[in-house]
Symmetry: C2
Subunit: 399 residues, 2 copies
C-alpha cells in the first residue's frame, strides 16, 4: 500500500508532498482509499463534506472507527495522515489473518482537509461532520486563489452538502494512529505511545498596514513600512514563546504589492500559537499583539489581529487511554501530550470517546519532506492498532 501512495503528489525537487484537498493528488489518494475498501469488502459511506468511511460490517451495536487523513501540508512528509490510514487497513488484514471475529462493526475513515493547507481551517472535514463549524461559515471559506470551498468540491466531481450528516451516527469510539511529531517517544525509548491531550492552539491573521512608497527616494525616517513592524513582531513572538516553553510561529506571509523597489502598503502574516492551557494561549497571543501594536505606533503603521481558528485544549478519555496503554509485553505504552491538532481532537470534543496512538519519529521532524519513521516502528504501529481494535471490538468490550 505504501508503494501505491509514495509517488502521488510528490515534488521532484524537494521530495515533499503537495496533497491539498480536492486537488488532483489528494483525489488520487482518495481513489486509492476506495480501492482498498473494495479489495477488503468494506462498505463505503460518504458525507457531503468529502469524508469517507469503509465499514467492515460485522457484529452488532456501535462501531469502532479508526483511520486518519490523506491530505498534506504544502511540501509535507509521507507519514502525517497516510500512516494512520495505511495502518488501519493493515490492522484489519492482521485481525483477519488471526481469525479475529469482531463483536461490533469496524470502520476505516479518511477525513478531508485535516491540515487546513488550502482553506486555512485545520480539521475542516471533522469539524463539519461534528458541527464544530457551521455550514454557512464553511461556505464562505476560500482558498488562496479565491475559490470557495463548495466550488472546489464541485470541481473535483463531488456533490457538496456541507454539515453534520449521518456519517458518525454508528460510531461508538474512535482510535487514530499517527506518526509522532516530536521526540517524546525517542527520549522515552518507546516505539508506541498513547495521547493524553492536545494543547490549545490557534491561527491568527496579523494585518500590518503602512504606506506604499518608492524604495529609493523615500528617506528611511519618512516611511511607514509595515514590513518592519512585521519583522519585529515575528522576532518578539519567537522570544516570547521560547521563554515560556510555548510555540509561536510565523510561517506564512504575503506582502502587497510585493515589489522589490516599493515600500509595501501591507504585510499579512499568520501566527500559529500553541500553549499548555487555554489561558496561557490567550495570554501569549495578547502579548504578541501588544508588542506588535507598540512597534506599529513607532513605525506609524497599523496592525489588526484576527483569530481565524482557535481550538481549546482536548483531554482524551483517560480510561480509554489507560485501557489501550496497559498490559503489553514490555510494559505499558507511555501516555503523552501533543501540541499538534488532529481529527481525533475534534471527535473527542464532540463527545465521542477517542484515543490516539503515536508511532515513534526518530528525528521529531514533521510537516517537512524530512519527516520519517522506521519500518520496524511502523509495523509495531500496525500491531498496536490491531491489538487496540481487538480490545475495543472483541468479546466483553463495553465502550
Amino acid at each position: 500500500m505504501w508503494r501505491d501512495l509514495d509517488p502521488i503528489g510528490r515534488s521532484a525537487s524537494s521530495g515533499g508532498y503537495f496533497r491539498q484537498p480536492f486537488g488532483s493528488a489528494e483525489r488520487e489518494c482518495h481513489a486509492w482509499f476506495l480501492e482498498q475498501c473494495a479489495a477488503r469488502g468494506l462498505e463505503v459511506e460518504s458525507d457531503g463534506n468529502g469524508n469517507t468511511i469503509g465499514w467492515w460490517r460485522t457484529g452488532e451495536g456501535q462501531g469502532v472507527l479508526t483511520g486518519s487523513h490523506l491530505d498534506s501540508v504544502l511540501d509535507g512528509g509521507a507519514y502525517d495522515g497516510p500512516l494512520g490510514v495505511v495502518s488501519s487497513f493493515a490492522a484489519i488484514d492482521l485481525l483477519r489473518d488471526r481469525g479475529f471475529v469482531p463483536q461490533r462493526p469496524l470502520g476505516v475513515g479518511a477525513f478531508v482537509e485535516e491540515e487546513g493547507s488550502r482553506f486555512g481551517l485545520a480539521c475542516l472535514g471533522s469539524r463539519l461532520m461534528t458541527g464544530a463549524i457551521s455550514p454557512a461559515a464553511a461556505q464562505e471559506l476560500r482558498d488562496r486563489d479565491g475559490v470557495p470551498l463548495p466550488d472546489a468540491m464541485a470541481a473535483s466531481g463531488l456533490d457538496p452538502s456541507l454539515g453534520p450528516g449521518r456519517l458518525l451516527e454508528g460510531v461508538g469510539v474512535f482510535v487514530e494512529l499517527h506518526v509522532e511529531q516530536g521526540r517524546d517517544l525517542v527520549d522515552r525509548g518507546a516505539a508506541i505511545g498513547v495521547a493524553s491531550e492536545i494543547w490549545p492552539h490557534g491561527r491568527y491573521r496579523f494585518d500590518f498596514t503602512g504606506e506604499a512608497n518608492h524604495a529609493g527616494t523615500t528617506r528611511m525616517e519618512d516611511r511607514h513600512d509595515p514590513m518592519l513592524t512585521y519583522a519585529m513582531t515575528a522576532m518578539a513572538a519567537n522570544e516570547q514563546a521560547r521563554a515560556s516553553g510555548e510555540r509561536a510561529t510565523f510561517g506564512r506571509i504575503e506582502a502587497v504589492p510585493n515589489g522589490t523597489n516599493a515600500v509595501p502598503s501591507r504585510v499579512t502574516a499568520w501566527l500559529d500559537a500553541r500553549c499548555a492551557t487555554d489561558d496561557s494561549l490567550e495570554k501569549l497571543v495578547t502579548e504578541i499583539g501588544r508588542m506588535g501594536h507598540d512597534r506599529a505606533g513607532r513605525d506609524g503603521t497599523g496592525l489588526s489581529v484576527t483569530a481565524e481558528s482557535v481550538s481549546a485544549r482536548v483531554g482524551f478519555d483517560p480510561d480509554l487511554a489507560g485501557r489501550l496503554a496497559d498490559g503489553h509485553d514490555g510494559g505499558a505504552w507511555p501516555i503523552i501530550p501533543t501540541q499538534a491538532g488532529h481529527d481525533a481532537g475534534i471527535l473527542s470534543a464532540a463527545g465521542i470517546p477517542t484515543a490516539m496512538l503515536f508511532v515513534r519519529n526518530p528525528t521529531g521532524v514533521s510537516h517537512s519532506p524530512a519527516e520519517a519513521a522506521e519500518t520496524a516502528d511502523c509495523l509495531a504501529g500496525v500491531e498496536a492498532l490491531a491489538t487496540s481494535l481487538e480490545r475495543l471490538a472483541g468479546e466483553g468490550a463495553t465502550e
Copy 2:
C-alpha cells in the same frame, strides 16, 4: 490624453496601476502610444526589445529624443512613466502651436520594463537597446510564473529579437521628464528641477535556508527557522541605512512552503539598496549581509546573497543640465540628485548626452496609488519640456 490612460490597468480596490510589461494593460498603453504617434504624423520605429520611438522627421542631423516609459510597478501610481510620455506629445503640440521649426528630428520614445516589475531587472528595455545587458542574459530572465522573456513577448504578439539594434542610431541627445519621487522640489518651492545624478543602486536576492518542521510540536530551541534570520536582517538593514542617510528596503518576500502550521524551509527576500557613492553601496550591502550571516550562525540557518542587478552612479552631463536649467523667468531651475533609477541613466551611461526634468510631487510619495502631481505643475512640466526641446533642436543648437 490623460483621460485615455486613466482607466488602463487600474485596480478597482486600491486605485493603483498594474501595467506589467507585455501584459494586456501595458499593451493597451502601447497601442495608445501608437495612436498618438499616428495622430501627429510621427514616424514609428521599433526594435526587437519592445522599445518604440515616434519621430517628427524634420531638420537634419542627430535627433533629439524625449519620452519615458508606460509600465508601472505592481500597484503603482499614475504619473511614474506616463507623465513623461504624455508631456512629450503635449510639448510637440505646443511647439507646433508656437510655429517652432526644429532644425533636427524630434522623437518621443517609450521604453519597456523600466520598473523591472515582471522580469526583476529595472530598465530592461533601455539596457537591451544600449547593450548594457547581453541578449543571452536577457533570454534567461523569467517572470514569477516562470515565463521566459522571449515567450512573454511572443505571447503579446511581438517578434522578439533581443539586443542593441539600430533604434538609437540617430539619437544625439535624450531628455526625460519624470514626476519627482521625493520632496526636494517641495522643500525648494520649485515646480521644475533638473537632475544632476542618479545614486548607485542595486537589487540583491537574500536566500535564507532552514529546516521545515511542525509549528506545533517543534520546541522553539530545536528550530532552524529562516523567517527569524530574515526578520532580524530586515530590521538591521533598516537601522543601518537610517543611520547613514542611505536606503535599504525589503519589499518583496517569498516563504516556502508558506503554510501557517509549518516552520518554513526557505525564505527569499529582495533587498533594494541605494547610496550616494558606489563604495558606500558596496559597504552597506556587505554590512547587511554580514549581520544576516551572523544571525544565521545563531539560528542554525543558511544565507546566500546574490546581486541581481547593480547600477553604478550616473552623473548626467553637467553642461547640458546647466543649458536647460538656466535663463528662465523666475530664475534657474534647481539641479538636484535622485535616488531613483531611470532609462535616462542607462542612456547616459551608454555615452548619449542626457538630461532629466523633474515635476514637483506634493507628497513625495511614489510607487504607490497615492502618487500625485498638481495639474499646474504638470502644465509647467510640458512648458519646460517644450522650452528644453527648443533649446536642443532650435537654431544654433550644437549638441
